[in-house]
């Protein structure tokens, strides 16, 4: 019924389209699968069956391997991104949800939601290197760019736990707002951004002092305060923007990372949780768990250009360059 008339719009899009060959992986929590999206055509090219309840996913440095938290299988799967085949499993502790890879690729830091520990896996040896007791319901994980700090957020204890990766001990805790879900270091590793789902805020913590320096609040016209539940956070490498996924508020907040003012709220699908940039940082993908799709934000125009249907309960996103 409806057909494109003028190619003008397509030309405009094509001019700003990122380089070819970028592949987006999205974990579908309820379907036990990954949706693979071509970042140029913005179409799902294939769906790969993986372990039970896949949530956090992350790529190794060269993008050849994808690590998948198969939460209900209590394991981390390792997938060859070229073939889509599962190569092997890594031990993970119970119910792995989010994890972070050390910059040197040697260790995976895994939050075990049910058992209140962080499990650190030696990736080449495929063995658990050590475990660290943290607060109740560990969830967010991040490793600083220089690899000295691993941080974990515990949803019930409402704390950020600082793990010294050289000494392999927990050295400090920082209290944040209710139900911290996600942590993200800036590129220089000087600041840590932590979202609080129930608190409805994002805290910015100084890495040197472990003190909260600033708290950002959100306010969207026509949306109740309790629906604004920040989860995923992404910072642009150029230091200009921070993006925060606001869960059932169905919006992504665009924050000026210099002034910490919220500049804009972008409407995306329902219950947006996690975010990921394309490697060239021209686009940001969002996983919308309830509407079962992924929205694509164009950074130059700061608009949502498309929403792509994927499997049920899309959760994690990883993008290969």
């Amino acid at each position: 019924m409806a057909m494109r008339m003028l190619p003008a719009a397509i030309i405009v899009l094509a001019l700003t389209t990122p380089a070819a060959g970028q592949t987006v992986f999205v974990s579908n929590e309820k379907d036990n699968s990954l949706s693979v999206i071509d970042a140029q055509t913005l179409k799902v090219t294939k769906t790969i069956k993986v372990g039970k309840r896949p949530r956090g996913i992350t790529l190794n440095a060269d993008g050849s391997l994808l690590y998948i938290c198969a939460s209900d299988d209590d394991t981390v799967q390792v997938m060859d991104t070229a073939t889509g085949k599962i190569l092997n499993n890594l031990p993970s502790g119970e119910d792995p949800e989010q994890f972070a890879l050390h910059p040197d690729g040697s260790h995976l830091f895994i939050a075990n939601e049910d058992s209140n520990v962080v499990t650190v896996v030696d990736v080449p040896a495929r063995k658990v290197a050590y475990q660290i007791d943290v607060g109740v319901e560990p969830e967010g994980m991040a490793v600083s760019p220089d690899g000295t700090w691993a941080v974990n957020t515990s949803e019930t204890t409402n704390m950020v736990h600082w793990i010294d990766t050289a000494k392999r001990v927990l050295v400090d805790n920082t209290l944040v707002d209710s139900r911290p879900r996600h942590a993200e270091f800036d590129k220089a590793g000087k600041k840590l951004w932590v979202s609080a789902e129930i608190g409805g805020t994002v805290s910015i913590i100084d890495t040197a002092t472990h003190k909260v320096e600033r708290t950002i609040q959100f306010n969207i016209k026509g949306i109740a305060r309790d629906k604004i539940q920040p989860v995923g956070v992404k910072l642009s490498d150029d230091g200009r923007y921070a993006f925060v996924a606001l869960g059932p508020a169905n919006h992504v907040a665009v924050i000026n990372a210099q002034t910490f003012e919220v500049e804009k709220y972008l409407l995306v699908g329902r219950r947006v949780w996690h975010l990921e940039f394309t490697p060239d940082q021209k686009r940001l993908f969002t996983s919308n768990g309830v509407s079962n799709d992924v929205s694509v934000i164009d950074i130059d125009t700061m608009t949502v250009i498309k929403s792509i249907p994927v499997g049920r309960y899309p959760w994690g996103i990883a993008i290969k360059g």
Partner: protein, 268 residues
Amino acid sequence: MSALHYGRALNGIVTREVLRFLHQRERFLAALVRPLVWLLVFAAGFRAALGVSIIPPYETYITYETYIIPGLVGMIQLFNGMQSSLSMVYDREMGSMRTLLVSPLPRWFLLTSKLLAGTAVSILQVYAFLLIALAFGIDLPPVGFLTVLPALVLSGLMLGAVGMLLSSTIRQLENFAGVMNFVIFPTFFLSSALYPLWKMQESSVLLFQICSVNPFTHAVELIRFALYAEVNWESLGWTALALAVFLGAAVYGYNPARGFMPRKAQAE
């Protein structure tokens, strides 16, 4: 009759209509305020009601404000069409209609010129409205401002033809309030202007079917797709067909030998 005569007549009719419009600042203001009230007051209240489903031509979630823009554009043209019909009834009462119709040019040409004049006025109003909407932060693709023009011409002609047909049957100015109640409101509310039809279908299949055959729905959908540089062929077909039917009936209605008026006069 040479082309020159035709051109001169068309020019005269369009110029008169545009001049009349420009001299009536209140009318211009009213034409803008009406859709803006809907956009800024009504839509703000319904903001959370939508944004849960993606329908063509949209590629992602949209706010309610964005959804009703084409509907409000259609509303401008609908009111303008009715306004033209009002002015034709007025012209007839004042006698200037007679001056127009005694011209040696064919009647269908004179009436089409009149339609074009009204459509030109409505398009001026629409662009003014779109610019204001843009200033209030409604996102529209820039190319849409260009691609919507042909759709506006067709929908403007079609809605103008409805007004013209009505004016051929209305005897007195006072009856215009009736037209408002019995034509404009059902036309506007029983369409996709304010709510997507799938939403209507959820509450009543009958209403959904009425909406689906309403020419105004198709005019709005034609404008909606055109704003995103796309063609909704089904709506294009329906709008063109409606234009042909209404214009044909209006030309018939204005024929003194066969029109609707003499028959009504005889019936009295």
